[in-house]
Every structure is written in C-alpha cells, then in structure tokens.
C-alpha cells in the first residue's frame, strides 16, 4: 500500500464536507417531517409523531396528493419503459455508422442542453396549434367536441422523453465503448442468427447497465418539473404540486410530502441496485 500524503487527507476532508453539504439538508427535512402536531418548519423538534403524514394521506388538506401521486407513478413507469426500449434500440444502431447518425447524436445532445423551459414552451405551443387546427379544419366528427390532445400521456410523455432519452443514449455509448465484440463474433461463428446473438449474448451482458437506464428514466421523470410545466395539460404531476406548495404552505406537511416523494426515489434506486447486483453474480 502506497503511503498517503497530506494531500489525500485534505481532499478526503473536502469530499466528506461535500457529502455533508449534499445530504445534510435533505436528512434535516426527513427528520422534521416527523414533528409533533405543534411543530413548525424549523428545528428543534417539537415532539415526534406521524401526524403530518396522516394529514397528507387523509387528503382534503393541501391538494389531492393521492391522485397526483398515482399520475406521476404511472407516467414514470411509462417513461421508464419507453426510455429503455428506445435507448437500447438506438444504442444498437449507433454501433454502426448509418445515414444521419451524426445528426441524431447532435440533436440528442441539444435536447439535453437547450433550456427546459424552451422545449416545454415549444411542446405546449405545438399542441395548442394542433388543437386549433383540428377545431377549424378537422372532420366534423372530430372537430365537434374536440377540446385538447395535450395531456399526461401525449405532450407530457413527449416532454419527459426529451429529457430521459439523451441520458439513456449516453449510457448506451458508455456500455458499448467497453463492450468486447469477440463474444458476438464467437456466437456468430457458432452459427447464431443476428437475433439469437442479440437475445442470448449481447442483451444478457448489457442488462445491468440497461437497468441503470431504467432507473434514470423513472427517477428523472418522477422529479421532472421544468419540461412538464407548459406541456402537461390540465392535471399536475406530484413535483409540480409540490412546487406550487412551496409558496403557500407553512406547516411540516410539505416536509412529509417531501419525505414520501424521496422515499419512492430511494426505493427505485435501491431496487435497481439490488437487481444489478443480482445480475452481476
């Protein structure tokens, strides 16, 4: 073992402080969400209870949390599934040069770095214009009682995918950069069809990382606000409700909601990590 210098210890302290900076405040509100009934928004704790969680789930209190919760969960699941399928498929495509591959790559990167509010505004406008077009020029059976196609699983889903797919694609690049093609060649030499090679050789090898893509897909969607803001339609997702509450709520129920939302994120992370570990065995 190499001798560790002063530099190592200074950097280790810096890193530890950074981790405290990252986690400290979050842990603070998880603790505060268990305040007693007379507790406020700050320390010290005023008793310990589950009263703020009860209030939250009893509904009627702040907003219809239950409905927003189910909407976000459903949307997150669909985004996760589509992110995995579309990213893996595109990742396989990018292993060979094809017409337009450079363009598609740059568009994916652009989608990541164009400010979210602009993408969201654009999708919102797109659906508004489509709705106007349907109302004015659509066939009667459609135009008569058309209101809008903007919604959770149309514009909202698209908005989330513009955020999750670039991450999925970048992870796929990372996977195939380290992928050893001799396994595939061996399969091919043994007479496997391209489909068999993919199904029985490539996919099992990349599966742990693909779970990682799914994790990104779900958690990024579960917490998404900026892109949803103009493109989600009538109903709100859970993070949007939460953002709305920041200006009005002065009781720890907002912390209880925060703790619940985080619990789902942590459950997703833990599930993914467990599956990855099991697969690596």
């Amino acid at each position: 073992m190499q001798r560790r210098g002063l530099g190592f210890y200074l950097l280790a302290v810096f890193f530890a402080l950074y981790v405290v900076f990252l986690y400290g405040p979050m842990i603070g509100i998880y603790i505060l969400s268990f305040q007693g009934p007379d507790g406020g928004l700050t320390f010290p704790m005023n008793g310990v209870s589950l009263v703020w969680f009860e209030k939250l789930f009893a509904g009627g209190g702040i907003v219809d949390i239950g409905a927003a919760f189910r909407r976000s969960l459903a949307l997150g699941a669909v985004v996760m599934l589509l992110t995995v399928v579309i990213s893996v498929s595109a990742g396989l495509a990018f292993r060979k040069r094809f017409a337009g591959s450079g363009l598609l790559f740059y568009v994916a990167i652009a989608s990541l770095i164009v400010p979210s509010i602009i993408t969201s505004l654009g999708i919102g406008l797109e659906f508004r214009l489509i709705d106007d077009l349907v109302k004015s020029h659509g066939p009667d059976w459609l135009a008569a009682d058309h209101t809008t196609w903007m919604g959770l699983f149309t514009s909202g889903l698209g908005a989330h995918l513009t955020w999750t797919l670039p991450f999925g694609l970048l992870i796929m690049f990372a996977i195939f950069n380290r992928f050893n093609p001799s396994y595939e060649e061996a399969a091919r030499d043994l007479g496997a069809t391209p489909w068999q090679t993919l199904r029985f050789v490539v996919l099992p090898i990349i599966l742990p990382s693909v779970i990682g893509i799914g994790l990104f897909g779900f958690t990024l969607s579960w917490d998404e606000i900026a892109r949803s803001s103009q493109a989600i339609g009538e109903v709100n997702t859970l993070p949007l409700e939460l953002q709305g509450l920041t200006t009005t709520v002065t009781k720890p129920d907002i912390y209880a909601l925060g703790t619940t939302v985080s619990a789902i994120s942590f459950a997703a992370i833990l599930t993914a990590l467990t599956i990855i570990r099991l697969l690596r065995r």
Binding site: G5, L11, F14, F15, Y18, V19, F21, L22, P25, M26, L32, L41, T42, F43, I86, S87, S89, A90, L92, A93, K96, F98, G100, L104, V107, A108, I109, S111, I113, V114, P115, S116, I117, I118, L121, G122, I123, G124, L125, E126, G158, L161, T162, L165, T219, W222, D223, I225, Q230, P239, L242, Q243, T246, G258, V261, S262, S265, A268, I269, L273
Partner: protein, 302 residues
C-alpha cells in the same frame, strides 16, 4: 470469391437499413417533441397577440415589447437587460463554484481513491441526490437558512450576531447555494470521466522528471481534463441560464431571471412574447456554448 463478396455487401446494406430502423423511434421522438417545437417557438415569436390569444400574422411585437424603452433609457439598463445581466452574474458565480467543487471532488475520486470498489461507492454517493427531487432539495434549505433556522440559531448562540440574519434565505445567496447544491453533479461527472482517461504513466513520468504535485496538476492533469471541464461548464451554464424554478423557489419569487421572464409571459398567456424571449435566451445560450466549444471538440470526447 465473388459470391462471398456479394454476400458481405448485401449484409452491409441490410445492416445499414437495420441501424436506421433501430434509430427510428428515437429520431421520431426528437423530431416531434424537440425539433418541431423549437421551430414553432421561432415562428410564433414573430406572431401578433392580444390580451388572450395569439394571432397568426407577422409582427415583431414580441421582440419590440420585450425591449420597450431600452434605447431611450441608455446608459441606464432597462428591465430586460438588467435581468440578463443579473442572470449572467448568477451563472458566472455558480459556474465558478461548481467548477471548483466539481474539479476537486473528481480529482479526489479519480486519483486518490485507489480501490475500484470505493470509487464506485463514492461516485454512487454523489449520484443518488441527483436522482431525487430538486424541489425537495430546495425546500431542504428552509430549516437551515430560515429566520429561525439552524444557521441563525448557531450564529446567535455563539454571539456572532444578535438578530437573525435575513439574507440567508430567499436571496441571491440562497439561489446560488441551491444551484451549486443541485448542479455540481453535472460538473463532477464529465471531469471525472476525462480524468479516468488520463494515462497514468504520464503522471508517473511527471513525478519521475521531478515535477511537484502542484506542477503535475497544473501542467498535466488540468490540460488533459479540459474536455471534461468544458462539457461540465456547458451543462451548468445552460441549466442556470434557463432556470426559473430554483430562482423562483429559493428567491422567494422576488428575483428576476431570463427563464423567469418566459414564465411570467406564459402566465399572462402572451405566447408570442414568451416565444420571443425564448429565442433571445436560446441565442444568448448558444453564443456562450459556441464560445466554449472553440476550446474543445465535443465529438471526440463522448
């Protein structure tokens, strides 16, 4: 022989077709939910509007309204220019801090943590918060920085101040703090990635030639980490330039920013004005990226 060649050619052709087919779903999503919306933003920014709807007729009103009175007010900055100046300032401070933190953390992980297992564990530790809700990570500062928060309690208990410090929360300070808290991850990952690609022999060579740790950092590691630094900078700068949520929540909805102007126009249903502001923001952001891109060829680095 010829037959064999023909077969390979056929295989290649169909392979290209298969690739295109595999990339099609992603291409479709980006075409319909990203490219077309951007084109519409540009088009609508040149439309007219009244109190409650947009009117599809050419007009520069979205832009002229935005810059109304700017020329007359000079040298005093008008609202929009002031807002952009403030956004750029927030952006610069956040960028400097995330770069400092991101580089140091990445450097520690890449060069001082030797065991692969620890490297993975510690990187994971940095990644997990990124996968949890941004709003919650913002609210989390309230019990710390509020009037009766931990920081004020501490300051008063130790006698450093006698009254609560008011500028800790809902101020530019808290906005920058939250931005650094939320987005330093975007700096750490690319820099770490660049550092992991540095040939370890180069560092050994520097040491063997008598370079001090500091000289090695300055002349070997920093230049070779430049691609990561530039990519991380692009992420952080574009996120902060377009941010309206962090500035809103952590600024107590009192601080203006380039992203916030768009939100305000949208809430007033002035879509062409919002679109014009989006085009301005996009132009400014792209100019910054173009400037940064001169420093590095992104295509080579990913």
């Amino acid at each position: 022989m010829t037959r064999l060649k023909l077969n390979t050619v056929q295989q290649r052709l169909s392979a290209g077709a298969i690739s295109r087919l595999q990339a099609l779903p992603m291409a479709f999503v980006f075409a319909f939910f990203f490219i077309l919306p951007l084109v519409l933003v540009v088009i609508v920014s040149f439309w007219d509007y009244n109190e409650y709807e947009m009117i599809p007729a050419f007009s520069g009103r979205g832009y002229t309204d935005t810059f109304e009175g700017c020329a007359a007010q000079l040298p005093e900055l008008c609202t929009i220019l002031k807002t952009y100046a403030k956004t750029v300032k927030l952006c610069a401070v956040t960028w400097a801090l995330t770069l400092l933190i991101g580089f140091t953390v990445a450097y520690f992980l890449a060069f001082h943590v030797k065991s692969r297992m620890w490297q993975i564990t510690l990187s994971l530790l940095c990644t997990i918060p990124f996968l949890t809700s941004n709003v919650i990570r913002m609210i989390a500062w309230i019990p710390m920085l509020g009037r009766n928060g931990l920081v004020n309690q501490g300051l008063q208990a130790t006698g450093i101040t006698h009254a609560p410090v008011e500028w800790l929360l809902f101020s530019e300070f808290s906005v920058v703090l939250a931005l650094v808290h939320l987005f330093s991850f975007f700096m750490i990952v690319p820099i770490f990635n660049s550092m992991m690609r540095i040939e370890r022999a180069l560092i050994e060579a520097a040491y063997d030639s008598g370079a001090t740790g500091w000289q090695t950092l300055r002349h070997v590691i920093i230049p070779l980490s430049k691609p990561g630094i530039v990519i991380g900078s692009i992420f952080v700068i574009t996120i902060v330039m377009g941010d309206f949520i962090t500035v809103g929540v952590m600024g107590g909805q009192q601080i203006a920013s380039a992203g916030k102007i768009i939100e305000v126009r949208l809430n007033a249903l002035q879509f062409p004005a919002a679109a014009a502001n989006a085009v301005i923001l996009l132009t400014v952001t792209l100019m910054i990226i173009a400037g940064l891109q001169r420093l590095v060829d992104i295509r080579k680095e990913l």
